[in-house]
Amino acid sequence: MSEEMSEGGVVKKFMYVNRKAPYGTIYALESLEVVLIAAAFDQDVSLAFIDDGVYQIAKGQDTKNIGVKNFSSTYRALDDYDINKLYVQKESMEARGLTDKDFLVPVEVKTAAELSALMEQQDVLLSF
């Protein structure tokens, strides 16, 4: 990222809070589209997957038979954009019977308390 692209050198902490399942609604996809654009702005970006948001990054998504575009592989591209702070909320993951092996990208599992502490440090929270 070039220095010029950041607004006068201001670097803010942006957290994208993802709480909804994919495909039933478009929020997961359109949140991801913001994240990809945000990558060009040289800010401190992280993604939190909470509640049904943890389903967004579940392995094995195959949308062929619902006739909707599968966008799950895009999460794998985030690392190429230097976006690698992906947090999964532990309690949400466990309530759904999932483990960190069920995700298609490497994530850090954080308890609600740990995630809350991170949220408190943010300048901007975007939730869809």
């Binding site: 495909y23 039933g24 609604t25 478009i26 619902i66 006739g67 909707v68 575009k69």
Partner: protein
Amino acid sequence: MKFGILINEGPYTHQASDTAYQFVKAALAKGHQIQRVFFYNDGVNNATKLTDPPQDDRNIVNRWAELAEEHKLDLVVCVAAALRRGIREDNLATGFRISGLGQLVESGIQADRLVTFGD
């Protein structure tokens, strides 16, 4: 059997229109009749001819229009819901018509089953 279909959400934002489309295709393939597809609430937004989704995604509006063409489906957009949301003859896609809410009640009366897809 005659099915009436009610769609209450707009394209892309909710899966309702996608699921309804797959349901209608499957019903037609089985030889059932689709008495009418009624678009209400944000469902009226399925009827705008101005959408231009990404190339690699489905085109929900055109998909309905093509299915309607092929099977002579009656795609009805509620006029009151449409006026609130900016759907008029000006931007109405081919294959849809605008009419009153009575068409939904009629669907409930005439169809053997009314199936609702929404949020």
